[in-house]
Each structure stands twice: as C-alpha cells, then as structure tokens.
Amino acid sequence: MATTARSQPTPALSPRSSSGFSRVLTALQGLLIPALSVFTAILMGSILILLNGRDPITAFEGLFEGALLEPRGLLATFRNMTPLILSGLSVAFAFKSGLFNIGAQGQLIVGSVVAAWVGFAVDGLPPILHITLAMVAACLAGALWGAIPGALKAYADAHEVITTIMLNYVAMQLAGWLISTGSADGTIKAGPLSNPASTDAIARTPPILESARLPSIYTIPPGFQLHIGIFIAIIAAILIWFLLYRTTTGFQLRMVGLSASAARYSGVNVKRMTILTMAIAGLLAGMAGGIQTLGVNYGYEGNQSLALGFDGITVAFLAGNNPLAVNFSAFLFGAMDAGTTRMARTADVAPELIQVIQAMILTFVAADQIIRRLYRVRAVGGPQVRISNRSEGEL
C-alpha cells in the first residue's frame, strides 16, 4: 500500500520515519481502498449473475465453500496462490523501480520448460540436489529472459512494455517448438524436449523424474497434495521486501523508480539497475514456472499456465506493489480460482465470472478516485498505482 501521507517530502523512501501509531493508522487506511475495490467488484459481479437469472448469494456461498471450507478446496487455494505470489512479486518488484513487467508470462513459461528439462534429463541425483538444480535453472532462465528487455531498455531505449509483450509470444512459440510432436510421417522432426514415448498428439515434455518432484506437505488421498512451493514463495516475498527496504541496492532501485534523473545525479548506475531489476523480476516469474512444473504438472505442457503471468499484474496492484501484501492478494485470487468449480456447480454460474471480477478489481484499485468518490473516502497518500515518470527522464 502507499502508506505515506502526501505531506511527507520523500514518501516511499523513508518507511521508518513516521511514528508507530500513525504508521498503523495509515496502513489501515491503505487497506481501505483495496478492500472497497474487492467489495465493489463482487457487488458488480452479483449484478452480472442476476442479469443471467442466477442467484448471487448461492454463487458466492459456493465460491467460499469451494475455496476455503472443503479440505481439497483449501489445498487448491494454497496451491493456486503459490505461483501468483511469485508472478505478483515479479510485477511489483519491477514496478518499484518504475518498470512495468508485462513479461512475467513469458518468463514463467521459460522457467517452466527449463525446470522440466532438468527434471527429466538429469538422472541419478538425490532429490534435494535435483530439485535445487531444477529450481536454480528455472530461476536463471527466467532471469535471463527478463534481463533481455532490461538491457534493451538500458542500452537501446526500447520500452519494456512492448518488448516484454513481444517476448511473451517468442517464449510461447519457442516452448511450443521445443515440445512439439513433429509431423506424423516424420518429415518434421519432433522438438528436442518432446516426449518420444507420448502416444497421443498432445505436445509435452517427458514427465520429470521422481527425484525432481517437490515434496508434499499434506496429501489428501488419492494423490491430491500440497507441495512445499508455498513456503518458497512466502520466503521469496520476505526476501524481496528485505532487498527493497533494507539494502542499499533496494534503496537505489526505488530511487530510480521515483526519479531516474535524481538517481543518476546521486551516482546510481541507472542502466545497471534497470537490467538488474528486470533480471530479478524475471527470476521470480521463472521460479513460479519452476514450481508449477516440479510441484503441480510434473512436466511442461503447452498452455498449461496460460494466465498466471498476467494475473500477477492484478495481484501486484491489489497489493499496492507491496511485496508482503502480495501474499494476501495472491491468497484472495488463489481462493477465487479454487472456488469457481464449486460455484459453477452449485449456482450454475460460468467460471469466467471470476475473471470479470478480477478485471474490475484491477480497475478500481488503479482508478482509486472512483472508489473514493463512491464511498466518500478522503485521500491518504498519493494515487496508489502509478508508473514512475521514468520515460520522461531518459536513462
């Protein structure tokens, strides 16, 4: 959340400057807008449900039960929120440095594929080493994929929004080729990472070895399990918070986000910071992909994680780009996704309703003026979501 009042001269750079009490107060006020945004979006979702002649109360009851009350649903919520924490972190982290990472999707795909590759191709390692190796590879692949737009921004002044969008498609096509099955008559060779043992036409990598699977914390028979990825994600969130708010590098990153030219004049290497920011953002998204491969899908299949990277944008904004708050907005989104099946079954409401609600949440969080006007909330702190005026100050 933007937790600081407008009167403070250097807002986000001095988190410890205000007194404890007023910090708690502003933090609570900061929660108000996201909470009202979610509430309003759900209200508007209810109107849509009514328009379709269904009962919104039953629908949201079903959503709530399916996401939190059923044991399987709760597990699904935790499982869903894991990659969302990381892709949300990826977007939020880049945002703190004034960069908009729309490329989490592509970075996630790259991480996913590389994790699958290490997972099935490297044999004979004990699980702890195999998992670590696969995760590190996924992170590095994501970091590399993220560093490309960073470098293009730093050295060729190419806007990261466009280059990351383009790289998403490059990643999709590249992954598609790597796992492609080739033509039936063999004139087109199958992709290098495709599954030779596959009997159907679905393109996928071979399954990862047992030793690469993330261990389960809790299993509901038969085989519905919660893997340890959720802890990795939460620890990553804490580390990112620490990096941003307790280290010199983090300070410099945020300074670049607030004013690139001021940062440059105070001796920060803005170009290097840009590349570093995008690399770390990519690393986080790559980690999300790795976890999905090693913990959920046990291999890579095309289109399996279609919207996780994009959902990261909404998750990050709902959290006001605060790395710790990302955990909670990811929980909310994970729960929504987990509850849709139940909602669809009990209330006959199309699962896509959740996407409409999520888009509205993004709208309201971004256009907080609408919410303020609607509920007569006075402004605390500046507008919440704003990409810095970095494009003005050339690098």
Partner: protein, 334 residues
C-alpha cells in the same frame, strides 16, 4: 511439386496473409489514432475480442426465429451486427479514455484492464455453438471463375492464367477487407492533410502547445479514442462476421498485440501499418502453409520471427522508429 501446385500454394498463402492482415491493419490504425492523440493503447486486443463477441451475438440475436423478417434479411441483419461491433469498440476505447484521462489511471494499466475485462466478459456470456443465419458475403466476384465468361475463354485460349490468379487475390473478398484498405488511405490522408490531423498529431507531440492554441485537448482525445475504437471494432467484426462467422473464446489469440507491434513497426504511420500488417500477416500465413510448399521446418520458429523483428525495430537495430513524444503521459489541463 508441380508448377500448378506451387501456384495454388502461393495463392492460398497470399489469401491467408490478407485474411490475417485485415484485423491487424484495423487494430494498428486504432492504436495509431489513439497514440497519435497522446494515449498509449495496449488494449487493442481486448477491443478486438469484445467487438468480435458483441458483433457475433447481435448476429445470433437477430437470427432468432421470433425476429421480424425485415430485420433478418442479410444486409439489414449484418449491418446492424456490424454497427453493434463498431459501437462496442468505440465504447471500450472510451472506457480507456475515462480511466486514463478522467481518472488519470496509468495508460498501460488502463489498457491491461480492457484486455482482462474482455476475456472475462466474453467468457462469461459465451454461448457454445449459437446459430446464426450466416456471415458477410464476398463482394466483386472474380470474372474468371464464371464458367462462360469471355475472360476465362480468352485465358483458356492463350493458356495464360496470370490474370486469373491475380483475380483470385483481388476479388471475392468481403466488404471489411476492401474497407480496411480504403480506411488506410483515408486515415493517412486525414492525419497529414487536414486540420483535424494536424491537431491530432500535435496532441501526441505537445499537448501543452495544442492547449495553448485553444484546442480542447480532452475532447479531441475522447473523439479520437472513440473513432479508433470503432476501427478496432471493425477489426473484431471481421473475425466473427466475415472471416470465421463464429465466436470462440479467446479467438483473437494475440492479434491485438500483433497490431500494436505493427503500429510500431510502421512507425505510427497508416501506410507503414498496412505494410507491417501484410508482412506480419504473411508470416502468420506461412506458419500455417509451410507444409504446402513441402518445407519441413517447425512452424513455431517462423511464428517467432515477427515478434523478434518488432523488438529489433523498436531497439533501433534496423531503421529507427519515432513514437509520438507525449504518448503515455497523462495531460494535466491548467
């Protein structure tokens, strides 16, 4: 592969390239109008998807048996459906305007909202296999395909089929395909030869100066966003009322983002957008038709090229593109 087969494959590829390039051209024109007015628009994808959907649903609705015959007649029904798609595109674009101009939401975020909203709404109201009474017919039939036409007899006589082949590319297209070409010319002319165009370009370069000269910046931005939205609406309508005749969830499959790439690739000029759209359309078509040419090459690697090319162009490695100077920054009236 024989000469005839090769000829057929080439014609099929060119026709597929044209089919791909129509919505991309219109999407790029839409983005161009918006960005030339100073509003960055990454929501083209959402505008295409949404208007493809409403255009289709209007067609479905008017095709129902209880609708009067006068409304169901082909031209009336399809014109109405087209209008619905156009207005949808315009309204989506206005939403982008309200968010980014009125509420000062970052333009990139506002565009993202359009994209996510369109996926959600079209998914929510989607009806599987909704029937319609048909899509837009083709216009200007190829004279060579009429069995006893003198053109065909002449071609038979001299064993010279090139005009016939060219005819297969030029004729038998729907109205939106021809309209998109006309619109490229119209937008290009308007942008560079009219007062409106000069004012629009001034918004994208220096809105403060435009404001000082008495141009109502916000009103002009809203107008241009609406016009641009209608162009994207036409592109969306092409997908469901002309090309396929059906709506599938997520059927735009990134065409709006390709349109964005094409707009950049064409250096924010209508003529450049057309060239870019044809090039990208050709790459997409080639992706599907490689095997027709007997080329055994993974189509995904061809499919990657346009995106890489866009990055290369944007980074200035080849040629240099010049975005409107003020695009992306919310203008504050004083």
């Amino acid at each position: 592969m024989s000469e005839v087969e090769l000829g057929l494959a080439i014609i099929a590829t060119i026709n597929a390239a044209i089919r791909f390039s129509v919505p991309i051209t219109l999407g790029a024109l839409s983005g161009l109008l918006s960005e030339r007015s100073g509003i960055v628009n990454i929501g083209i994808e959402g505008m295409l998807l949404m208007s493809a959907f409403t255009g289709f649903m209007a067609n479905v609705f008017l095709s129902r048996p209880d609708v009067p015959d006068a409304l169901q007649a082909g031209p009336v029904r399809l014109t109405l459906a087209l209008v619905v798609a156009l207005i949808t595109g315009g309204l989506m674009s206005l939403l982008h305007g309200v968010l980014s101009i009125q509420y000062k939401v970052d333009q990139i975020i506002s565009g993202t909202v359009l994209n996510i909203l369109a996926v959600g709404l079209t998914g929510y109201f989607y009806q599987r296999e909704a029937p319609t009474l048909g899509k837009l017919p083709n216009m200007i039939s190829n004279p060579f395909t009429i069995a006893d036409s003198w053109e065909l007899k002449l071609a038979d006589n001299f064993k010279f089929y090139l005009p016939y082949d060219i005819g297969r590319i030029l004729f038998d297209k729907d109205v939106i395909t021809y309209l998109s070409l006309i619109l490229v010319v119209v937008v290009g002319w308007a942008l560079y030869r009219t007062t409106w165009g000069l004012r629009t370009r001034s918004l994208g370069e220096n809105p403060r100066a435009a404001d000082t000269l008495g141009i109502n910046v916000y009103r002009m931005q809203y107008t241009n966003l609406f016009l641009g939205g209608m162009l994207a609406g036409l592109g969306g309508a092409f997908l469901t009322l002309a090309a396929v005749g059906l709506f599938e969830q997520g059927m735009t499959t990134g065409r709006g983002f390709i349109a964005l790439a094409v707009m950049i690739f064409g250096n924010w000029r209508p003529s450049g957008a057309l060239k870019g759209a044809l090039l990208f359309g050709f790459a997409l078509a080639l992706q599907n038709q490689l095997q027709l040419f007997g080329i055994n090459f993974p189509h995904q690697l061809v499919g990657m090229l346009p995106y890489i090319l866009t990055i290369v162009v944007l980074a200035g490695f080849v040629g240099r593109v010049q975005p409107p100077a003020a695009a992306g920054k919310a203008y504050e009236h004083e």
